[in-house]
Amino acid sequence: MAQGDESLVAGDTAAQLFALTDRLFRATGPEEVYEAVLEVIGGLLGCDRASILLFDEAGIMRFVAWRGLTADYRAAVDGHSPWQAGTREAEPIFVADINDTDEPEWLKQRIGAEGIVGLAFVPLFVHGQVVGKFMTYFPARREFTAHDRACAVAIARQVGFALERYRAERARETAELGLRESEERFRHMAEDAPVMIWISDSSGRCLHINSLLREFWGVRDVASFDWATTLHPGDRDEVARRMQEAIGARSSATVKGRYRRSDGVYRVLETVARPNFGRHGEFLGMIGVNVDVTEREEADKHKRLLINELNHRVKNTLAVVQAVARQTFRSEAPRSLQLQAFEGRLAALAQAHNLLAAESWQSASLEEVARKSVNGDADSRVRLHGPHVDLEPKQAVTTAMALHEMYTNAVKHGALRDPNGSVRFEWQLGPGPAPVLTMRWSEHGPLPVQRPSRRGFGTTMIKQALGAELNADIDLDYLPSGLICTVTARLPARQPAP
């Protein structure tokens, strides 16, 4: 080749490579890259057939672009590669005549059938790893010159750079898409979460309110919404102050308050808010969750009420026991009898409590109270007769203790001293909302009755305590045959349950 021709060739090569570079630079996708490359290969290497193949995800070499190849040929040699995907060691292979190689016979025949004799395999690199190759095909034996080889390598590098660029772009797009999807997922999650979520700016104004909270407040336009106006006037200053403090200190806060729901009902919301910081640590505002704790608050309040009520009853009962003890132990009876009497009185008190506890401390039936108080389960000498009457708790306790005193007196001093003695305890209830309850205790026994002490606990319990509790007149008549006690009670109208 003459000197002038060589420079002409060199100049032409440079122009074509320059043109390729320019087209690759302007290409908007891999297809345009392939198209440009195939054209330049033809022009630079003087062939009209060429192809580009890339490893697919499974590492198999696949045709992605070609010129002048039959579909049959492509199908037959698809997957054939001198290199493994990802290898870093790959040199271009230039074959002057396929028949001179050690390739398998079937392959040689197939290549020959396509009218190909000379061919070149040029690896394509991305990040130093083989990702595919381009091929050139010649219909006759081809002695590849140093120029051919240099051109092939230059083209391969240009293609590699272009592919690298597209792969990087695709990776970034995939990452961005993933990020968008992830953001979308979290947005949906926050929006539709079964808790109330909000985000505020650094002044405490709401920027975002999720659907449950918008529904709670009935918010249509977040921008013009002021959450503080929904606070109960009694809580407004305190909650606003606590939130402003948290914003000022950029710290977390847990605040409870009554908020007006869109239907006008106040609900207790517990807000847990945390400061929200940007990527560079700048304070953006607060993020918070509101939980409706109304039911919990009410249950707590109810529990406190029950505990207070229990405390009250326990203390009152202790005070009653104290009074019973004082009155029992100041009698002139021997200590052993005092103790016995005290135990009996405590048992009567406890039995009345049992009956009331069984009815949730609402009421107790007079018949039950009487049966327990006169030892009715073991001693059949006391006959009970009367209609069903419900006694209020304190009426039941006082009646039980008074009847216990009557029974004990009858056993010690009255008709029941004798095994053949008996007692009738009868009651009647008058008509009306505040009926008169009449009770009559009448003893019948063969032995003379001993009148008990006027100042004893039994007398106090029957005459004063029972009289006061039942708003009753008490008439005690000590007949020779036994005591007759008549109680005429004008029961107060039942007070509504607290």
Binding site: L318, A319, T398, Q495
Partner: protein, 135 residues
């Protein structure tokens, strides 16, 4: 004249206590130091009716009366400048204020007597307290 430390001469004391036995005990306890008991009232409306009928010098109020509080009675006593002592089974959560003293249940007789002896000692001649018996 003020009361003496040995007694509360004829101090008239309204008792409101729904537990009959305790009311009777309290009455007896206050009578021991010379007080005259009004009531005892076992219900709030009874106590209000007794206040309509006469003006006591002092009162003993149980806080919890049949599940309600005796706040209404306390308010009336405060309005009429009648000192009162609260008896309660638990820390005073009733919202009642203005009491002269609080005694915890169960209390002993000496505590109760001491509270009213202090009231008697604090009474001033200007108040419509019954005059002391001649010494």
């Amino acid at each position: 004249m003020t009361g003496t430390t040995s007694g509360v001469p004829a101090m008239r004391v309204l008792i409101l206590e729904d537990e009959v036995l305790l009311a009777l005990e309290a009455a007896e306890t206050l009578e021991e130091i010379g007080a005259v008991v009004i009531g005892p009232a076992y219900r709030i409306d009874t106590a209000m009716a007794l206040l309509d009928a006469e003006r006591p010098d002092a009162a003993l109020l149980d806080v919890n009366i049949n599940g309600a509080t005796s706040a209404k009675v306390a308010q009336r006593l405060r309005d009429e400048n009648i000192p009162f002592v609260l008896a309660t089974g638990y820390a005073n959560q009733s919202g009642i204020s203005g009491e002269a003293a609080i005694i915890d249940k169960p209390y002993d007789r000496a505590q109760l007597q001491a509270a009213f002896l202090r009231l008697g000692a604090a009474a001033t001649p200007g108040l419509p307290t019954s005059p002391a018996r001649p010494a």
